[in-house]
């Protein structure tokens, strides 16, 4: 695929997503926002966890830093979130770089790196919970302004505006992701993922490029955190620094295919409706499962089962596995007669 | 004793073996030589069941073992001394050797075999309580061969036994291999060190790009011009 191909796909998708709201009611619009939103965060994670192969289990640290920075700047100093989100991105990038420097410097990798990121995220949650200047566990609440304000990024009447913002963010993040993937940085990162020692032997400054990947990923994630704060109007440490954010962020890219440009988006397109489906299924189950109706937990259970099945049967994620399936299917359809003759030849 | 027919294998999307066929008679020393990346190690790994064959057949002692798992292949007496030795680095020398006779039917002979290994490699006896990871390269190779002997091989496959060893030690190792063969064990040896190997081997195969391109007795190959220029540097 050439470079322009990726952008062509992006343009096509943008078109689809631009048209979709015309057919969506308010709640479906909510789901679409959620979908794009997780696709966005997944894209951020993918740069570090997918391209560079540095599995992060603590993206909530960056997320929370972003959410809190823009919100505090907005609430205490009246600085617009449009500006604040970039300040948050800067902080998160610095934090990420520092974390990356510390861990990579000492040769922490693989599972240990994943656990280290988790520890950093949990520590930031605990510190936030204990910091009175950001209102500790009580959290921060956006003011109600009674309308839509582009300058404050608060849209109380028109949900579509949030959709537009997150779609724009996703497009930019995807463009960054494509750019990285198709350029020197991306090749270096992939080389590091495949064989770090070999990459180092070839003269790639692995420490530097890994830190760059972490910083970029952190910055994009932090902006997602700012968007979260604006969209939901409320943040507290358990919510934005919690482990559930870290899990949700990595779920989509792995599901869709980590290390692939379109993995996070495909994962989000698949998972977000799937999550809703399980809920709908439990609310209105088919006749023979009617005893399951309204049983709390059954939807999440189903979601868990789906994850297990997909991971087992699609080890390379949707992006990697679906073409393989199609290929196998085609081969089977076409090759039935061929293999028969081969067998006979033996 | 061992017949390979049209073996194909590889890693992930990369195919390495493109239809390898060879044969080993009981009691022989057979050499498999070729350049780096020709597929020698892949062949041996597939024989040991560490790698799945994509197609082709492996017949050992009249049985089709193509799809057997490693531990079953080991139980049948087809033992590999792997490239890079694959020792248990944090276990002691003795524990490594004992694990060589992990299979139940071998445990009865454990003491006897241990004695035999120690007589072949007195160094191992001296260092039996040392942690394997701290041994020198030569000692590790001795331990790898010793561990394989603990499994009472009928066919012993050695993958680059001389790799990274001092020339003195290389000769020792070759002598031991010859001795093992004299005791009645069939041997398949993969080596970069082609001259020495072909001198010792009754027959040899040359691999190139995942295929067998030449075969013959050790002597024939040693004097083949193509071999001499390509692999022996003569």
């Amino acid at each position: 695929m050439t470079i322009s191909r990726d952008y062509q796909i992006l343009a096509g998708l943008t078109l689809v997503f631009a048209i979709l709201p015309l057919f969506a009611n308010q709640f479906q619009l909510t789901l679409l926002i959620t979908l794009l939103y997780w696709a966005y965060l997944g894209t951020a994670w993918n740069i570090m966890g997918g391209y560079a192969g540095q599995f992060s289990f603590g993206h909530s640290a960056f997320f929370g830093i972003g959410a809190y920075t823009s919100t505090v700047l907005f609430l205490n100093y009246g600085i617009s979130p449009w500006l604040g989100m970039f300040v948050g991105a800067g902080f998160a990038a610095l934090f990420g770089a520092a974390m990356g420097f510390l861990t990579f410097r000492f040769g922490v990798k693989g599972h240990f790196f994943a656990l280290a990121t988790f520890a950093f995220a949990e520590m930031s949650r605990l510190i936030a919970q204990d910091s009175d200047f950001i209102n500790s566990t009580i959290g921060l609440t956006m003011p109600i302004i009674g309308g839509d304000s582009w300058s404050q990024m608060i849209f109380e009447d028109t949900k579509l505006y949030y959709y537009i913002v997150i779609l724009g963010m996703l497009i930019v993040a995807t463009m960054i992701s494509i750019w990285i993937y198709r350029n020197k940085l991306g090749y270096y990162l992939l080389a590091i993922r495949e064989d770090e020692d070999a990459a180092a032997a070839l003269g790639v400054d692995t420490l530097r490029y890994k830190i760059i990947a972490v910083a970029i990923s952190a910055a994009i994630t932090a902006i997602g955190g700012s968007f979260f704060a604006q969209r939901f109007g409320f943040i507290d440490p358990a919510l934005v620094f919690g482990v559930s954010i870290s899990i949700a962020v990595l779920l989509r890219p792995i599901f869709g295919g980590s290390g692939a440009i379109w993995g996070p988006l495909v994962g989000a397109i698949f998972l977000t409706p799937m999550e809703e489906f399980t809920k709908i299924f439990v609310r209105n189950p088919p006749e023979f499962l009617s005893f399951m109706k309204g049983r709390a937990g059954f939807d999440v259970l189903l979601f868990g089962v789906i994850i297990i099945i997909v991971v087992i049967y699609m080890p390379d994620g949707l992006v990697g596995s679906i073409p393989q399936w199609l290929e196998r299917l085609r081969r089977r359809l076409r090759g039935q007669s061929q293999s028969a003759t081969q067998e006979a030849a033996r | 004793m061992l017949t390979i027919e049209n073996l194909e294998a590889g890693y992930g999307d990369v195919k390495v073996l493109f239809g390898v066929s060879l044969e080993i008679q009981a009691g022989e020393i057979v050499a498999l030589i070729g350049a780096n990346g020709a597929g020698k190690t892949t062949t041996i790994k597939t024989l040991s069941g560490l790698l799945r064959a994509r197609s082709g057949r492996i017949i050992y002692d009249g049985q089709d073992i193509t799809h057997w798992q490693s531990h079953k292949i080991v139980a049948a007496g087809l033992i590999q001394v792997a490239e890079g030795r694959k020792l248990f680095p944090r276990l002691s020398v003795l524990e490594n050797l004992e694990l060589g006779s992990f299979l139940r039917k071998l445990r009865a002979n454990r003491a006897k075999n241990l004695k035999h290994v120690y007589s072949l490699f007195p160094r191992l006896a001296e260092r039996k309580n040392q942690i394997a990871g701290t041994l020198s390269g030569g000692e590790q190779q001795m331990l790898a061969i010793g561990r394989a002997l603990m499994s009472e091989p009928k066919l012993l496959m050695l993958d680059e036994p001389s790799l990274g060893l001092a020339p003195m030690l290389v000769q020792d190792i070759f002598n031991v291999v010859q001795g093992i063969n004299d005791d009645g064990t069939t041997i398949l040896i993969v080596e970069q060190n082609a001259v020495q190997t072909l001198r010792m081997a009754q027959r040899g195969y040359v691999m190139e790009h995942g295929k067998i391109t030449l075969s013959g007795t050790g002597d024939e190959l040693l004097h083949d011009d193509r071999i001499r220029t390509a692999y022996l540097g003569l």
Binding site: L20, L239, V266, P273 | -
Partner: protein, 408 residues
Amino acid sequence: MSKILRIVGLMALLMMSFGVMVTTAQDDMMVVRIGGIHPLTGFLANDGLGMDQAIQMAVDEINEMGLVPGITLEYVSADSTGAADVGQQEAERLITEEGISVIIGTFQSAVTGNVATVAAREGVPLIIDVAAASDITERGRDADGNQWTFRIQPNADVMGTFAAQYAVAMTSAGGGELGSVAYLHEGVTDYGRSVYGAFEAEAANIGLDIVETVGYEFGADYTTDVTIVGASAPDAVMVTGYYGDGLTIAQNMEAIALDVPFVMGVAQGTYDQDQFVADAGSLAECFFNSNYRWDNLNPHALAVRARYAERFGEGMTSADVLAWQATYIAADAIRRAGSGDTAAIQAALLETDYEYHIMPYDGSITFVDGETPNAIPVVMQVQDGAVKQVWPPEIAESEPRFCTSWGG
């Protein structure tokens, strides 16, 4: 180019799955739907599930008795999973997809605040059954200042304030004097801190000395936390937290034989529960809790709890009772509004004057700025294996006893 089309097409196809989202038709004019949002999964599911059942029971009763003439109520429940963003999303779903006219919920302050914002924005009334944080009712106002969120529970300020006053009053009624207290509260969610904050403010007000404060994490063992509290040798120990931690803390107090004959929960989730008595046995004796509560002297309250126990095979907690009560308040407003029109229901809620409640409040339930002004907590104590109301004296079933079950 065909490859691009195929990928875009594939994604578009996946998007179509949205089309399958089931939308429920509004078939019957006589049906008004009530939505409930509670944590039905996750670590607070214990509380949320009971409240969900209580609302279902109330709706069934109201329909059966025809309390809302010409209208059948229908209950739609939703799971917040304990997360504020999920709760908010579910509120949006209930409003736009399920067409509900009133929301009842949601147990946690963080979730409730978000739902209140959505409710105000969308113009749908929210009746809080349980959620303590005081500012939620403010967040439930739209830009024109219309109140969309209503609470029948005493909020964190009220509960913290009253607990401090009750503690002092109870001690002096018993002939003693309360000089110092130590406070243990969960330090993970806003609930622990906001209740403690209110208590602290009132304590400063009335000259009550707080000699030690421990904000604990959820863990397997609280012996050290309890020891810290004990080392400050207070006259009383206050505890704010959820069920599981409260139970373990009680066991740990017994273990170190805490020498303080006055342990009281403040809006706490354990010490006024029948399950506490069942789980902890004799250990439960003497524990106080100042909490929201039904009026145990009211025979209707006992009947409601008996019906609940019969139907669901488990005891009805205070939170369940509040959820049940909130449903009746909603039904009352729907009856007066005469339809499922949300604005009419909101107007009716503003006018609420409901005297048939089973809460221990003096007079009927009304709303001022979304709060019930006469909503107060009650002090309960486990006495002889039963939870008794002991304070304030007007509704006390028994005198408070200052003791510990481990003999202090």
